[in-house]
């Protein structure tokens, strides 16, 4: 199969699962007041063209391990609601202007409303988990609930690490620090837990979910680095402001690589830049940071790291999914990694 075929097949399947999960998610938004400043806004982010990785991974893994698609719906919806709640609050904390090609909720409606909308999404995420009780029974409902609890806790701890680095203007970070932060902030909730939850449901709780940790971490880390790369070199279809991460002072693998490879004078200047508030960082300064990243081949370093991690994920995939039948869903996850391995920027 050619690279284009793999990409097309993967993206079609991803679209199917995303649309299905959005449809299911909207059923959980109450049809009542207050609409203008709450329930109408709750559906804004889910309706925008997100990737839908989390629900797709959850549903497909459930089917791979023998479950029925509908058995994973509630958990997939909960994952998407918690994810979107996290994004609303994350955008506030990062002072981001754009999300999925449009203004962030706080840009459009102000901070207080945005924070409340995020809170509402967190609360709404509990309902589908409760509904699991009637479909999955108490044992699986509890197991899924425990997974979500761990996922949410890890995500906020990871976010705290990243915010702390910016607050303290930490400039002596290593690749290990970055990998630890994204494990907590991104990988558990983007890949590892959606797959674990899908496998728990599909297998009726008989599969040991720990077997997916390594696979999910490699895949999630590769995905996060690629996402950060797109912010630096992607085009407007990426949906966030290009180089927004540099404006935010976000500690990406590429920025950490730059901090660790540039000379003393350059590091001093970079540290001064990072110490400023976002509003005080100027476009010429941002361009200078990009020039430094070029000089020290930070983009290449990021690309290589992302590819290596995707390659390691592919190897792990054959270990943990190797004994599963070659179904559309198994191919979907395999194609997801192949898509990442061969991704052009």
């Amino acid at each position: 199969m050619s690279q284009n075929d793999i990409q097309e097949k993967f993206l079609n399947q991803l679209t199917n699962y995303r649309e299905l999960s959005i449809k299911k998610l909207l059923e959980f938004i109450p049809e009542r007041e207050p609409k203008k400043f709450l329930y109408d806004l709750v559906s804004i982010y889910p309706k925008r063209a997100g990737k839908g990785f989390r629900p797709s991974l959850c549903i497909s893994t459930c089917k791979i391990f023998g479950g029925k698609e509908y058995e994973a719906y509630n958990s997939a919806v909960a994952l998407e609601l918690f994810h979107n709640a996290f994004l609303v609050h994350d955008d506030v904390e990062d002072e981001s202007c754009d999300r999925r090609g449009y203004p962030t909720i706080h840009e459009q409606y102000g901070m207080p409303v945005a924070i409340n909308v995020g809170d509402a999404m967190n609360v709404l995420g509990i309902k589908p988990l409760m509904k699991n009780l009637t479909i999955l029974g108490p044992k699986l409902t509890w197991l899924v609930f425990s997974e979500v609890e761990h996922m949410a806790l890890e995500a906020v701890e990871g976010q705290a690490m990243e915010l702390g680095w910016r607050m303290d203007n930490t400039c002596n970070l290593t690749d290990e620090d970055y990998l630890k932060m994204i494990l907590k902030k991104t990988c558990w909730y983007t890949v590892i837990h959606p797959i674990r939850i899908g496998a728990i449901i599909g297998s009726g709780g008989t599969v040991d979910p720990d077997r997916f940790n390594r696979f999910g971490y490699y895949m999630g880390a590769s995905f996060q680095i690629q996402d950060d790369l797109l912010n630096l070199i992607g085009d407007k279809k990426y949906g966030k402001e290009i180089c927004g991460d540099i404006l935010e002072g976000k500690r990406t693998l590429m920025l950490i690589h730059l901090l660790n490879t540039c000379n003393g004078k350059e590091k001093e200047r970079l540290t001064r830049y990072l110490a400023k508030n976002r509003a005080d960082r100027t476009p010429p300064e941002m361009k200078w940071v990009m020039k430094m990243m070029d000089k020290y081949e930070c983009i290449e370093y990021g690309k290589k790291s992302a590819k290596n991690l995707a390659g390691a994920a592919l190897k792990e995939f054959y270990t943990v999914f190797g004994d599963r039948q070659d179904t559309i869903d198994r191919q979907f996850i395999e194609n997801m990694i192949l898509y990442m391995v061969n991704r052009d920027y």
Binding site: M130, L133, P138, K139, T141, W142, F145, H150, D175, E176, L179, K180, L183, K184, D208, D210, R211, N213, R214, Y217, Y218, A221, S305, N308, L309, G311, A312
Partner: protein
């Protein structure tokens, strides 16, 4: 260093199986190796946290007395259905205590040995628990026995360790422990001991700490060391 008390526990040896020791990692990308190490360290920390949670949850057994059950029933009758579900979650939690316990499998049976437990079916990180509580400024030696199961290959094991993390913000520097000898050379089919030399910093705070021990040059040789510091 003042008030040093030395305890050499020659009889307390922890065996760490070296199966898979020959998986040398030369060809693997550095970033992947770093990620693998971080994941194992984080999971081991999570298992420690889960064990502590399990101990706390054991107290919930009190809820199972007849009177409490009757109270819950009455509460269920009067309360909203959401509360009812939460009560169900609580009772499921109590039932799950036993399944959490079953994830802890001992791989060492010598009665005098420090506790070594397997952290889970797939994470493969043995947990080594220092058998006594240590005080600030205390020095302690603990031998750990290793076996080279290869019939043909000699192994030279270069040990290293991460810094210790406590329950909260507390940390201990990596140089809290050293290894003797380092490297440890094992002929094919033989066993040997490395002595973990632990020196608790004088300003260390009370609490439980853990760190990752690993062989620099061997992919599969890793263990989590857990120690407890009490105020002297």
């Amino acid at each position: 260093m003042k008030n040093k008390s030395t305890t050499k526990e020659k009889d307390t040896k922890a065996s760490v199986n070296m199966k898979g020791i020959s998986n040398i990692i030369d060809n693997t990308s550095k970033i992947v190796i770093k990620a693998a190490n971080i994941l194992e360290e984080e999971i081991a920390k999570g298992i420690i946290a889960a064990k502590q949670m399990e101990e706390k949850m054991t107290d919930v057994k009190k809820l199972h007395s007849e009177d409490k059950e009757a109270l819950l029933m009455r509460f269920r009758k009067d309360a909203h259905d959401i509360i009812d579900l939460l009560v169900d979650f609580t009772s499921i939690a109590v039932k799950n205590v036993s399944s959490i316990s079953s994830q802890w499998i001992s791989i060492k049976t010598e009665s005098s040995a420090p506790e070594v437990t397997q952290s889970g079916k797939n994470s493969n990180i043995p947990l080594i628990t220092v058998p006594k509580e240590l005080k600030q400024d205390e020095y302690y030696e603990m031998p750990v026995k290793l076996e080279n199961e290869s019939k043909t290959e000699m192994k030279s094991i270069q040990f290293e360790n991460s810094a210790f993390s406590g329950n909260g913000e507390e940390h201990l520097p990596a140089n809290t422990i050293s290894f003797d000898p380092n490297p440890l050379v094992l002929q094919p089919g033989t066993s040997g001991s490395v002595i973990l030399k632990i020196t608790i910093p004088p300003d260390a705070r009370e609490g439980s700490y853990s760190c990752l021990l690993q062989a620099k040059n061997l992919n599969d040789l890793k263990a989590m060391l857990i120690l407890k510091i009490v105020n002297g």
